[in-house]
């Protein structure tokens, strides 16, 4: 099945409904479909359609036009340095590229965002429906190394949409605020889900708390997806300006893309009691969401006296109906409830495939996410960092998360990260980077060490401690641990 079907059904069934809004541009589903047919004509002979720009109405047009012509859509991170962009474009070449200011690369033909909408005769072909066709190629963020090019096939994405969304289930008044970038899997799934549900997309190209709050109010936005750092910044902005959340139309906020601090979600629920919160866990390689902590789970957790139920506010919830999750130990043996190991996932939406390295699925279709975690006895998934981030001290596996969780409790620590540092005796040991609440009065290093020792045990005690004004996060809130490891090794 071709993802273009999503747009075709929407344009057939609700042509006059507003589909997408960005600045002064407003497109109905019919407008969107017309623009797609027109762009499809400009794709004659193109092998791929790349997109290097901030979020805008051209992004959904490009994605569906590429699908209509049966070529991969490749959105690229426009925030990267020019040499990195050049190197990614060389990997994508030959391709047609939508961009207003891209470097010159052999085999890349450019058209501007304005040219996307220039009117030409509509292409009159049908979307090809060959099994296994590639819909989208996304470069992973590369927090641990070079970005990998993940392959998402039409079948993966359609399985995700059909398995999670009812067609035209959104009320005509509903809209969603899209502030995630177009090259992120959440930016892709926002387009597919919103169009299938018939929910108007309100695009915010450059996130800031002020801009987000203003646009949400102005457009009566009812839904939004945020990465944890965005939610944190919105809360900080509002509380530091002594403002209250004045968003009466807002019904639901979903969050994901990184670890949500317990204190932030609790604060968000207190400040916005009328909003339903959903935690979504997913990866690029799984066509977005695979687990959900739904609004009822949030309420149950916050109201419960049972510590096990309360703890679920820190979980990523339970697998989607069409997705299976399994935890395995170092020997690839399935773990029991409560036992931590590696997270494996299976389902039609899971691609688990990259250019160059092929499919990572095992013979039974399981994909190793490289995330660590455990399932509780009710099937809630708790994540515990990336397998690559584990600190191996004398053969013992130490998760950075457990050290970070106890240190963040200290009142003079604002943010903290633990990473592996080289150690002559143990091979690796714990290093921590601390962002003090007040840079002028640094926390005592001995107090930090004894806190870890008392709360955990001596093997977890950091051998190296550094202070920084802030930790290095990428634009979607992922901590760049590789940068921190470099801090200790130089």
């Amino acid at each position: 099945m071709n993802i273009h079907l999503i747009l075709q059904m929407a344009a057939d069934s609700m042509p006059d409904r507003e589909a997408v809004i960005c600045g002064s541009q407003r497109l109905t589903y019919q407008d969107l479909s017309d623009a797609v047919n027109s762009l499809a004509n400009k794709l004659e002979g193109a092998k791929k359609l790349a997109y290097l720009a901030e979020t805008g109405t051209a992004a959904p047009v490009a994605m569906f036009a590429a699908a209509l012509r049966g070529i991969p859509y490749v959105p690229i991170n426009y925030r990267l340095a020019e040499d990195q962009i050049t190197s990614l474009l060389e990997r994508v070449s030959p391709a047609l590229l939508i961009s207003d200011d891209a470097p010159e690369v052999k085999g890349i033909t450019k058209i501007s965002q304005v040219q996307v909408f220039s009117h030409v005769t509509s292409w009159d072909g049908f979307a090809p429906d060959e099994e296994g066709n590639i819909a989208i190629e996304l470069f992973t963020s590369g927090t641990t190394g070079d970005p990998k090019s993940a392959i998402l096939r039409h079948d993966n994405l359609m399985a995700y949409i059909l398995g999670t969304i009812e067609f035209m289930s959104a009320e005509q008044s509903q809209s969603t605020l899209v502030s995630v970038p177009p090259y992120h899997i959440a930016g892709i799934s926002a387009i597919l889900s919103s169009v299938y549900a018939g929910r108007r997309m309100v695009q915010l190209p450059n996130f800031s708390p002020e801009a987000w709050l203003k646009l949400a109010k102005q457009e009566n936005v009812s839904q939004a997806f945020l990465v944890p750092t965005m939610l944190q910044r919105i809360i900080e902005y509002t509380t530091s300006n002594n403002e209250t959340f004045d968003l009466p139309a807002m019904q639901a906020i979903a969050y994901g893309g990184g670890k949500m601090p317990h204190s932030v979600i609790e604060q968000a629920m207190t400040l916005m009691p009328h909003v339903n919160f959903t935690n979504a866990y997913g990866l690029t390689e799984t066509s977005s969401t695979i687990c959900l902590l739904d609004p009822d789970d949030h309420h149950d957790a916050i109201q419960s006296g049972d510590p096990a139920v309360r703890a679920r506010l820190s979980s990523v919830g339970r697998p989607l109906p069409a997705v299976e999750v399994e935890i395995r130990d170092d020997d690839n043996v399935p773990c029991g409830a409560g036992e931590a190991g590696y997270v494996f996932v299976r389902g039609e939406q899971v691609s688990g495939e990259y250019h160059g390295s092929g499919s990572l699925l095992d013979e039974n279709g399981w994909f190793p996410t490289r995330d660590r975690g455990y399932l509780d006895d009710a099937g809630y998934l708790f994540l515990d960092g990336r397998a690559d981030d584990v600190i191996v001290r004398g053969g013992e596996n130490i998760s950075p998360g457990e050290i970070e969780d106890v240190l963040i409790e200290m009142s003079d620590i604002k943010d903290v990260a633990a990473v592996a540092v080289a150690d002559d005796e143990w091979g690796e040991a714990v290093g921590v980077v601390i962002v003090p609440a007040d840079m002028t009065t640094l926390p005592e290093i001995e107090a930090i060490k004894s806190h870890v020792k008392n709360q955990l045990r001596s093997s977890r005690v950091p051998t190296k401690v550094k202070f920084m004004e802030e930790l290095p996060y990428n634009e979607t809130g992922k901590l760049l641990r590789r940068v921190l490891r470099d801090v200790f090794s130089t």
Binding site: M1, L5, Q8, M9, D12, S13, D129, E131, L162, T164, I165, E166, F167, M168, S169, T176, A186, S189, A190, S193, S194, A197, R199, Q223, F225, A252, A254, G256, N276, T278, A280, G282, S288, T289, L292, D294, P295, L320, P321
Partner: protein, 100 residues
Amino acid sequence: MQIKAGTKLFSAVCDTQIMVLRVPKDDLDVTCGGLPMQTEEAAEKSLISDNAGEGSLVGKRYVDKAETMEFLCTRGGEGNISVNGVALEIKQAKRLPSSD
């Protein structure tokens, strides 16, 4: 008729279009409004011979009672969809909160 997942079928009597999501390997007699569905859209539609029920609804997934097969209605119409003479039912799916 032998059909497979991904096949598009068109009603001979109304606007209904369906997409095959999964089917058993057996020969299936898929009808809409009483006449066999076709793999190409007919220029002229026949008269509807079986008009009981509510027709087909766009966006709904249709299944048999045992859920051995599933179809997505990609365009609605007046005809009812049946397989081997038995009307299909709308699949009831658990409503999930929006996560994107």
